[in-house]
């Protein structure tokens, strides 16, 4: 009975994190973007600096009519948001935020593979949405999503493989247990490749060609309204949380910090995740959108060779240490 309670409690915590963290990131994005652009951002909802803006947005989305285009493939169209969102919930289960058994939803033996595999499934949601909408802008968005995923999946995997080589394990807590501070400079190239490729996989600016509003309206999500549209947005922000958490765990040492490693380790993980999320928002405000050919060129001619070089470096250092 205790085991059942334990599992239920862990899943509940993961679910709460899944529901709140993306909203926190979203609200931070509203405010940070506004201040970087010399605006105030939301100020009224909830009273204090518009803290309840996203809750108000959620209420608004829930009230809207759920429209399915007449020519659309109904079932696929309606299923797509769930396919886009659920993988991120599954991934959160496997990310450890502190040392020990207690600070991870579920220890997965092949953690890196689990996380990357399930994150890849999420993109199917965008593809389904793009195809099933019966709209040429949506189809173009879906096409661009697929092309982007195919280009950036490889460097992301290679960068993650480099860390796995360094740690000698593919389990996420195992990697953190093996972490030393000098991994930071050692794996820095891999970290950059992983983060950039992850941004591209999430279609965040400057890699938001698939949803480029000035060309194809909103890409695969053009025809969506109401709650289903909100679910796609939630998937994007959940993706940011997952990507930042993963980068922090794989490359920045997760719960390791200069002090307070015992007991306060989870604070380090959250801090690193938060800083990375801020970086994601900052990039959105700072960089113009990459063109489709620039996107592909960056992946194949810069990120893949860099990731391969990182793997070679990891191998050499690893052999030298042993």
């Amino acid at each position: 009975m205790n085991d059942v309670l334990d599992v239920a409690l862990r899943l509940l915590v993961v679910f709460v994190v899944f529901l709140t963290f993306p909203l926190i990131v979203g609200q931070t994005e509203h405010k940070v973007m506004a201040h970087m652009q010399g605006r105030l951002g939301p100020m009224y909802a909830g009273g204090f600096h518009g803290w309840a803006q996203l809750i108000a947005d959620g209420v608004k989305f829930a009230q809207k009519e759920d429209v399915v285009p007449a020519d659309a493939d109904r079932r696929v169209f309606q299923l797509a948001p769930a396919v886009a969102l659920l993988p991120y919930l599954l991934v959160l289960v496997a990310i450890p935020i502190g040392p020990g058994e207690g600070a991870v939803g579920q220890v997965v033996d092949a953690g890196i593979f689990f996380v990357l595999a399930v994150m890849g499934v999420g993109v199917l949601g965008s593809l389904m949405a793009g195809w099933a909408s019966a709209n040429k802008f949506s189809l173009l968005g879906g096409l661009r999503t697929a092309a982007q995923l195919l280009a950036y999946e490889l460097p992301m995997l290679l960068a993650a493989a480099s860390v796995a080589m360094a740690a000698g394990t593919v389990s996420l807590p195992g990697i953190l247990n093996a972490f030393e501070w000098w991994w930071l400079p050692w794996q820095i190239v891999g970290a950059l490749v992983f983060f950039v490729a992850g941004l591209a996989e999430l279609q965040r600016p400057p890699f938001d060609m698939p949803v480029a509003d000035s060309e194809i309206i909103f890409g695969a999500y053009t025809e969506y309204t109401g709650l289903r549209f909100a679910l796609f947005l939630l998937a994007e922000y959940a993706g940011i949380v997952v990507l930042c958490g993963l980068t922090a765990v794989l490359f920045l040492g997760g719960w390791h910090g200069p002090w307070g490693a015992d007991g306060l380790g989870w604070l380090w993980t959250l801090l690193k995740t938060g800083i990375l999320a801020f970086l994601v928002i900052w990039l959105r405000v700072s960089y113009p959108r990459l063109r489709e050919d620039q996107l592909q060129k960056l992946a194949w001619t810069v990120l893949v060779p860099l990731a391969l070089a990182q793997i070679a470096l990891t191998g050499i250092v690893k052999v030298a240490i042993n």
Binding site: D73, V108, D109, A117, L124, L127, A134, G142, A146, S171
Partner: protein
């Protein structure tokens, strides 16, 4: 000696297990297997091209669950990563890039369907026969040490199966180089138009007929 003994120690002892008193895992295995088979059958029989690709996702995911139930966690996630995450995305990309009509595509049926069915049944029979003949009544001990973890898989792969592994890598490398060579050939044709009449005649004609074939039914529908 190690070579001979290792694979056997992997498979559990042939403990007496009854067919009529299945455990929960076995029931789950059979149910997921039925669902996977169903999804696979729909994949090849549905008249809607993109639906076929999506049902393929279900079938491949079902296979991954089967691997999980057999404690082969590493293989399961790699299955999802490679097949669901990359191959199906590539498939959908190809479909969307060429033609992905919503609704039925009556021209998607091939005249080869009976031959294809015969080949499929023959290969399935051969596979089932080989697997049944190889393992007979051996059962995996699910309660003991995990036999499909990353560590076990890795050490077996690189201790006992290095040569096949490397041979496969070389095969994939050859395919990669071949793909690059093929695409480069077309690129040269595009650059200097004179060679188009020579070496590159066949591919353009083939694509032209393909497009012609794919355009006509659309016109008929209108």
């Amino acid at each position: 000696m190690i070579l001979a003994s290792a694979p056997q120690s992997l498979l559990a002892a042939t403990a007496p297990q009854g067919f009529l008193s299945p455990t929960g895992v076995e029931i789950a295995f059979v149910l997921v297997g039925i669902a996977t088979l169903g999804a696979a059958v729909i994949t090849v029989t549905t008249r809607q091209l993109v639906h076929a690709a999506l049902w393929l996702v279900v079938a491949l995911g079902g296979l991954a669950v089967e691997y999980l139930l057999l404690t082969a966690e590493f293989i399961a996630w790699v299955q999802v990563l490679i097949y669901v995450g990359s191959v199906v995305v590539l498939l959908l990309f190809g479909l969307m890039l060429t033609r992905a009509p919503i609704g039925r595509s009556p021209d998607a049926d091939s005249g080869n369907r009976w031959v294809a069915l015969a080949v499929a049944v023959a290969s399935a029979a051969a596979l089932v026969w080989v697997v049944v003949d190889a393992f007979r009544t051996q059962w995996i001990d699910l309660d003991g040490a995990v036999q499909g973890s990353t560590e076990v898989t890795g050490s077996i792969l690189f201790r006992h199966w290095v040569l096949p592994f490397e041979a496969l890598s070389v095969l994939l490398l050859a395919a990669l180089v071949g793909a690059i060579v093929l695409s480069r050939k077309n690129g040269e044709n595009g650059e200097n138009g004179e060679t188009e009449a020579g070496a590159g005649t066949e591919p353009p004609t083939a694509t032209a007929t393909e497009t012609a074939r794919s355009v006509t039914p659309d016109k008929e529908q209108r």
